[in-house]
Amino acid sequence: MTLKQQIFSIIVSLVVFFFTIDLVRKKRLREEYSLLWLGTSILMLVLIIRYDWLLYLTSLIGAVLPTTTLFLGSILFLVLLAVQFSIKISRLSNQVKDLVQENALLRYEFEKSRIANEQVVKEN
């Protein structure tokens, strides 16, 4: 890996890391979603600094170039992220469904008791 590549990669991973921390700090990102991002940027940083580990990993998965390993890693990361979102969205849709149903039932009860109240008021 050339020095230029190394510097660029370090900058990218540091930017991702601190940007994520900042988002969590400002409450714009929840902790549970930040973990995957932080984990990936730390892993990237480690692999760039300990280049021999990256080489070992590359030979382990049978890739030729270390950059391939990094790209593969980032694709894997994106896939994981997408799956995490799908799971979350499924859960959210289910919760929205339950809420809409609950709301329909409560609204019925509410309107019924309001009409009953109005009648009582009229009679008095």
């Binding site: 289910n94 469904k97 809409v100 149903q101 709301n103 329909a104 039932l105 609204r107 019925y108």
Partner: protein, 237 residues
């Protein structure tokens, strides 16, 4: 309060709903009628109320399965013993509700499914639709080991046990037909088909249009597949 409630899921049915309700009221005056207004943009809610139905309203359109489950939850909460489920677009002939309810009320079965194919002068759906129905008919028949002729029918009647079962997460809200029958079978409910008359949809509006039938078929197959893979404990009552 009656012990039987007729539930009608409705999405933009302001033109057809009143006649469906009045036909039900004429045929079975003792039954309560519940319309689940599934986020309609038209006057469905007002029209149904005027016709004398109880109306529950979803804030936005959630789909057929969610709407009928809202009805089940209502019926369960209010302690109804029987549900009759009928479409709001006038496809299902309301004069058949007593025939449909009879085996359930007698205690012969837990769930009665209205079949258009067992009645001699029901309309014949389009060729592609029939092909789809035929496919699921064979599939369901093989899986549950009993002949089911109209697995996509939404004209149904069932008892309190099934109502309770359907208010849980087990109920397949996406497209509750073939999949639901298999779920019922896994849970050990007794299902029987009853001949009913169905008309062609007067408005021509359908849930299954465009590329949707293909999507529907794939999704239903997947749904049936994972239903069979699930732990049987889930379906214990």
């Amino acid at each position: 309060m009656s012990d039987t409630i007729v539930i009608i899921p409705a999405f933009n049915e302001e033109h057809g709903i009143a006649s469906v309700i009045s036909k039900i009221k004429a045929h079975a005056p003792d039954f309560d009628v519940l319309v689940i207004n599934d986020g309609s943009a038209d006057r469905t809610k007002a029209v149904a109320k005027e016709a004398g139905a109880i109306v529950l309203t979803h804030n936005f359109n959630m789909g057929y399965g969610v709407a009928i489950q809202t009805g089940y939850k209502f019926a369960h909460e209010k302690g109804y013993s029987y549900i009759i489920q009928i479409d709001g677009d006038g496809q299902h002939d309301p004069t058949f509700i007593s025939e449909l309810l009879e085996p359930v009320k007698n205690g012969d079965v837990d769930f009665a499914l209205g079949s258009r194919f067992l009645w001699f002068d029901s309309y014949r759906p389009s060729f592609t639709r029939r092909l789809g129905i035929l496919f699921f008919r064979k599939l369901v028949t093989v899986i549950i080991g009993r002949e089911i002729t109209d697995p996509t029918s939404g004209y149904q009647a069932f008892n309190r046990d099934v109502i309770k079962f359907f208010t849980t997460d087990v109920f397949p809200c996406d497209y509750p037909d073939a999949d639901m029958l298999i779920t019922l079978n896994l849970a050990g409910f007794r299902v029987r088909e009853v001949p009913v008359r169905m008309f062609a949809n007067p408005t021509g509006k359908t849930m299954h249009s465009g590329a949707k039938p293909l999507y529907y078929m794939i999704k239903m197959c997947l749904s049936i597949f994972v239903t069979l893979l699930r732990n049987r404990k889930l379906y214990r009552r």
